[in-house]
């Protein structure tokens, strides 16, 4: 006699136990602490904060630990936690020109006030596995210089002063919050930037790369890339002025892109913009390129049908939590649907075989 | 007799540049109007404004509707205009790909307009599709093939069938023979002439090819730099052009 498969609940519990055991790995090996992850896996922590849209290195480290290092899973944990948090208020816009830069490079000018600072970058490392790292006990110390206290004004502003780059529209309007309003197309630029900054790094990178290869090319130079800490200020209504509530590390990228002009309008460069939590340089540059590609209509360019120019395509597919959930849901049971198709195919086959038989007779 | 279409002072600008300016004319039922001019003369802009594909800046496009008589289509709501676009109006694009669904069969391409206005009997839809395919000289056994597998001339004939299946009263055509080989053009023109006469269609045909209007159009409008420079009966305009530009157009044809 047949008994239908039961015990989904027991199976789930057992799977969770096994998962917990696997997460810990060999108990002979010391357990990772959150501080270790936060300090030594800091770029993973940064990515989780950026795509999780929550600036909290400690929580990001916890999420990475819980997710066994699967960063998309960690981002998912952060996102799910984030939605349960109450909204106390909005900060003032952060002033990135007042950033304390750890890194600041420009591809457009050899030097500029405030100077170029390489900072802690992989850029010129030779990608040779460093077997010394396999041994423990390393605590390298970098040489120190006096901090430059000179201001580091944004490089694109030098161009802007001469009218050489397009000025962006200023607005004091509160931008829409894409986590509190359903996405509607066409989206405004602020919504696009929100979607890109929390978008999957790989997806945004791929889109940006496609523009460089000719699918909506926009001739970008990195006008400036800066990484560092900025103060977050909030207006407290009871006080009537802004107070600093903390600091966040950001990566900002402004690209200087192909110029445009006409007989009546003098030629100007245009820009793309990227701003991402943490040291997340690849993402910020990618974001700036995709932002610029999406601005084709506003800048009067032709839509060449490139994926990166297609707002609905980019925004609807950039979120890795949406993507991974929907992708993976196809492993859930679908036997009802499958059965329905199975019956239809059988019926269609019977009909064709029937008519072939008739034709033969 | 009420004109089928009355166009009044139609103007379209692109910034400072004039697309077409102050165009007025009447089109009577059963009449075919040709609009000729070189590229950039504003003839395609005019056609797109007439057909509701582009909003003009000024003017009226008054169509004699079945239900309410003459109505300015520019003041219609979008659903009304779209309804008109799939019933009484038809638009034949220069490039058949712009007017066809390349991913579905020829039969579905012809049937779509029928289904859009409520046809719900598969057998009837298919029968009409087959009938229309034969009227545009496409064999019945191609009904389930996709237009990708068709030659350029066949695609254009399919587009015409797809447009005419609902018995429209006004057809807009944008260079219907453009991009086709000369021998294919001749066959298509012949077919179009037959259909126009047989169905008593009213049509507005934009072309730079004077041979096309000579064959199809009752009346002619010559455009240059967005303005109409000469109008009249086709034979009259072509045989005895008054405006210098028309004379140039006609003579350049004769030289070829």
């Amino acid at each position: 006699m047949y008994v239908a498969v039961k015990g989904g609940e027991r199976a789930i519990d057992a799977a969770h136990e096994w998962l917990a055991e696997e997460r810990r790995g060999d108990p002979q090996v010391p357990e990772l602490s959150l501080a270790q992850i936060r300090e030594q896996m800091s770029l993973a922590v940064n990515r989780v904060m950026a795509e999780g849209s929550l600036y909290d290195p400690e929580l990001a480290a916890l999420a990475i630990k819980q997710a066994r290092g699967d960063l998309i899973e960690a981002i998912f944990l952060i996102r799910a936690y984030r939605t349960t948090l109450p909204r106390i208020g909005h900060s003032r816009p952060v002033e990135t020109s007042a950033m304390r830069c750890d890194r600041r490079v420009s591809a457009t000018f050899k030097d500029a006030p405030g100077g170029q600072v390489l900072g802690p970058t992989f850029d010129y490392t030779h990608r040779l596995l460093d077997f010394k790292l396999a041994a423990e006990g390393e605590a390298p110390v970098a040489r120190q210089a006096e901090p430059t206290l000179a201001p580091t004004p944004r490089i694109t502003e030098f161009l802007n002063r001469d009218g050489l780059i397009q000025d962006e529209a200023h607005s004091d309007e509160t931008p829409p919050d894409m986590t509190r309003q359903p996405m509607e197309y066409p989206a405004d630029r602020s919504t696009r930037l929100q979607a890109l900054t929390r978008g999957d790094e790989g997806f945004v990178l791929g889109m940006a790369y496609s523009t460089q290869r000719g699918y909506g090319r926009n001739h970008p130079f990195v006008g400036e890339l800066r990484i560092g800490a900025v103060e977050v200020e909030m207006e407290i209504p009871e006080l009537g002025f802004d107070i600093c509530i903390g600091e966040v590390t950001l990566t900002e990228c402004e690209t200087v892109n192909q110029f445009m002009g006409s007989k009546t309008e003098p030629a100007q460069f245009t820009r793309g913009y990227g701003l991402v939590f943490g040291q997340t340089e690849r993402k910020a540059i990618s974001m700036a390129l995709v932002d610029r590609a999406l601005r084709w209509e506003e800048l009067g360019e032709e839509n060449v049908g490139a994926p990166a120019q297609d707002e609905e395509f980019v925004l609807a597919h950039s979120d890795n939590i949406q993507a991974t959930g929907f992708l993976e849901h196809i492993k859930l049971p679908h036997y009802v649907d499958f059965q329905s198709e199975l019956e239809l195919v059988r019926k269609m086959r019977r009909e064709v075989e029937g008519s072939m038989k008739e034709a033969a007779e | 007799m009420t004109p089928l279409l009355q166009v009044r002072d139609l103007t379209k600008r692109y910034g400072a540049r004039l697309g077409c300016g102050d165009v007025s004319f009447d089109l009577y039922p059963g009449e075919v109007m040709g609009i000729v001019g070189e590229s950039g003369s504003g003839k395609s802009t005019l056609l797109n404004c007439l057909a509701g594909h582009q909003p003009p800046d000024e003017g009226q496009v008054i169509f004699d509707t079945r239900a309410e008589g003459p109505v300015d289509t520019l003041t219609m709501s979008e659903p009304e205009r779209r309804m008109l676009g799939r019933t009484d109006w038809a638009f034949v694009h220069q490039n058949a790909r712009d007017g066809l669904r390349m991913g579905v069969s020829a039969g579905a391409n012809v049937g779509e307009r029928l289904m859009a206005v409520g046809a719900r009997h598969y057998g009837d839809i298919r029968e009409q599709a087959v009938d229309w395919l034969s009227r545009v000289e496409i064999a019945e056994d191609r009904v389930d093939d996709r237009p990708r597998a068709f030659s350029g001339g066949m695609q254009q004939r399919l587009q015409i069938a797809r447009n005419l299946v609902t018995g429209p009263r006004l057809v807009f055509m944008d260079e219907p023979t453009g991009g086709l080989d000369v021998s294919v053009q001749a066959r298509l023109l012949d077919l179009l002439r037959g259909l126009v006469r047989e169905m008593g269609l009213s049509a507005i045909i934009v072309t730079h090819d004077l041979a096309v209007v000579r064959l199809l159009a009752d009346r002619l409008m010559v455009m240059k730099s967005g303005a109409v420079v000469e109008t009249g009966l086709t034979d009259q305009v072509l045989d005895d052009p008054q405006h210098g530009y028309t004379q140039l157009l006609v003579s350049s044809v004769l030289q070829v």
Binding site: E312, M348 | A108
Partner: protein, 292 residues
């Protein structure tokens, strides 16, 4: 079947009250315009998109402490995802749960409508992956919204026409499109077309698509017509067998492979329905004498 205390770390049914109110407003709008897809600010839930986040949010917005909840997936109460969602609400809402269709006041489902007729006082919540019935004909949201607004459904029929032209029959077996109250074409979620006639029901039917941020609804006793051609009418088909456990000849069946020699059996996909029939003494081809 037991009510429990809900986990005090979370608000009742997980979502905060403001979010629930936002969802309820969307639900009321959806009920007022049957079949119309209402955009809503879907929240990020602690379960993956595509796994019922839309249905879970709708259920959360509907639940009251007095409700009795049933959760099914593929018609069964004990499939893993149904178990997981039921546990979620047991923990966060502490509501009573049940496997019996007639006892439930709220039923969340994926891919099936229960066999037993639903009635007044019951809410059926569907999990929806892709709410847009025109999506695979026209991928662009801006375009499909316009098509709905202008009631331009010719393209939908083009698809059905193509099916018949190439396959001799309409080849949509599930997520079979319907027209609601003569106006909106709607995706009934991936239920088998066998279930389509049950969309005309005495219960309130709510559809939630979390990832796609849409909610839509069918109010009780609303006309729901499956699209078809006059000469190729809609057929709510099922496997041509009886249930091998309860002998039912009219229920939707799962096919189960029983050995590697081509042996198979058919059993009701609605496990509660099948168990109830067996309890009443109905027997199928393969049920033992002592099956009850």
């Amino acid at each position: 079947m037991t009510a429990m205390q809900h986990d005090p770390a979370y608000n009742f049914a997980y979502l905060d009250e403001q979010t629930k109110r936002m969802i309820r407003r969307a639900l009321l709008k959806a009920l007022a315009i049957p079949g119309y897809q209402v955009p809503f600010a879907s929240r990020e839930m602690p379960m993956p998109y595509g796994w019922g986040t839309g249905g879970v949010q709708v259920t959360a917005a509907c639940l009251t402490p007095e409700d009795r909840l049933k959760v099914i997936d593929q018609g069964a109460d004990d499939t893993t995802n149904a178990v997981s969602i039921r546990k979620f609400f047991e923990r966060t809402a502490g509501v009573a749960t049940t496997e019996h269709t007639n006892e439930a006041s709220v039923i969340q489902t994926r891919h099936r409508i229960p066999e037993a007729p639903l009635g007044a006082g019951q809410i059926l919540v569907y999990q929806v992956p892709i709410p847009e019935p025109l999506r695979f004909l026209e991928p662009r949201e801006t375009e499909t919204r316009k098509m709905h607004a202008l009631e331009e459904y010719g393209l939908m029929y083009v698809k059905l026409y193509e099916d018949i032209a190439h396959n001799g029959a309409i080849s949509t077996a599930y997520a079979y499109p319907v027209k609601v109250e003569g106006r909106y074409v709607m995706d009934p979620s991936p239920i088998p077309k066998f279930d389509n006639p049950k969309l005309e029901s005495g219960a309130i039917q709510l559809f939630g698509a979390g990832r796609e941020q849409r909610i839509y609804a069918i109010p009780p006793y609303t006309q729901v017509v499956s699209l078809d051609f006059e000469d190729h009418p809609f057929e709510p088909s099922k496997a041509d067998h009886d249930c091998d456990l309860c002998g039912c000849g009219t229920s939707y069946l799962d096919e189960v492979i029983t050995d590697d020699a081509g042996g198979r059996m058919f059993v009701c996909s609605d496990t509660d329905f099948c168990a109830a029939r067996q309890a009443e003494g109905h027997r199928g081809r393969l049920s033992g004498e002592d099956a009850a």
